[in-house]
């Protein structure tokens, strides 16, 4: 997963922020997906304009002291999980 990768929602998927993190709705199911990402990822990240590097930086800045490598690893694992569920795809693929 490249740091310059950006992601967008898969066709038929919507997302919004909730207290616990992100709530995805896939109307092809329809099915709800509850992703407990707390406040680390905003819905706007899935507009295809914000890169993984940008997200990593913003999380580190907002949580001063969190090691960049750890944050990066968490983001990568989280995005892989979301891609695996068919909820998002990398910008070049969308």
């Amino acid at each position: 997963m490249g740091q310059e990768a950006a992601y967008c929602l898969s066709a038929g998927v919507q997302v919004r922020r909730e207290k616990f993190g992100l709530l995805f709705y896939d109307y092809r199911g329809p099915r709800l997906y509850f992703a407990p990402t707390k406040d680390l990822i905003q819905e706007g990240f899935f507009g295809g304009q914000v890169t993984v590097a940008d997200l990593t930086s913003s999380i580190c800045e907002a949580n001063g002291g969190w090691p960049r490598k750890l944050v990066q690893s968490w983001i990568e694992r989280t995005l892989e999980t979301l891609v695996g569920k068919g909820l998002i795809c990398e910008q070049s693929v969308c």
Partner: protein, 356 residues
Amino acid sequence: MSNPYVDLGLSAPVNVSWEVTFACNLSCLHCVSDSGRKRNGELTTEECRRMIDTLASMKVFQVNIGGGEPFLRKDFLDLMDYAHQKGIVTCISTNGTLIDDQIAGRLDNGLVYLQVSLDGARAETNDAIRGEGSFRSALRALECLSKRGLGVSINTVLTRLSFPELDQLEGLADSFGAKFRVSRFRPSGRGKANWSELSVSKEDLLLFSEWLSRHQQVSTGDSFFSVSHEDRKSLGLNMCGACKLTCCVSPLGEVYPCAFLQEKEFLAGKLPQDSLQFIWEKAPVFHSFRELEIRSCESCLRFDFCHGGCPAMAYHTQRKLGLPDPECLANCVTRLPVTAWRHETGDHCGPGSSGN
């Protein structure tokens, strides 16, 4: 509730049922909203647009639209365009009488699903409930919509008349490339007066439960969890979603927990005076509903599958919330003689079978 995130409370409904008018050109015997003539005080075009704005700002994912007959509203297609511009997915329930190629063309935008109501696989059955000619109109609509590749489903209300024809109805849906949904009949609206005539027996409910297990691709609008077997648990909600995942807006802008509880005591607020956001977050009716527990069901082995069933059924049959759904699987089984419960003997049961 079995979902910890829903228990935490969502910021907005996931979907909203919106009845856009009382006007209808049919007089179905089971009509939830007792539709017929447009009523004074129905939301104006501008009020509807403001409501759509609110739904968009709350990020409600889907609006399920019914009535009455939605296409009788002169501004309906413009309202749909407006909702779609806001990115809201709509599922429109229609009797199909007014669907033509021009209307189908207006709806061909990827954000619309259409549900055509059909209560029998034969004109004789369907029209006995929906009125003469309604079967023919529905089929014409299905033809029109499926020709364009629009997402379509057939919705059938489970009644004594439709039950024996479920297999044929599913076949009819297949022939149009449509999904098939069976909805639960409840004694509200006009359905109250026709309940004893149309409701299915407990024996047939058991058979229906088995039929659902054999037809996993059939949806139920999350309305039959009280009689669904474990093998359908992952196919839909196993509890009432009212005030937790959904709510209902009437043609007059009245907001209720669900379409089957459009009674004064459940009125949570009224648009446009009250905002839907405020009602969702603060209405005492909604708070009470979220805390509703069917205590007498908690010791039941099936509690995890149904959480006490449909509160609206309990209310309409026993005039009280907080009581068990009278049509739950456990109730159906325990109130019948053992010989009537065929599931465990492995006998084939289902609509159209000799056991029916």
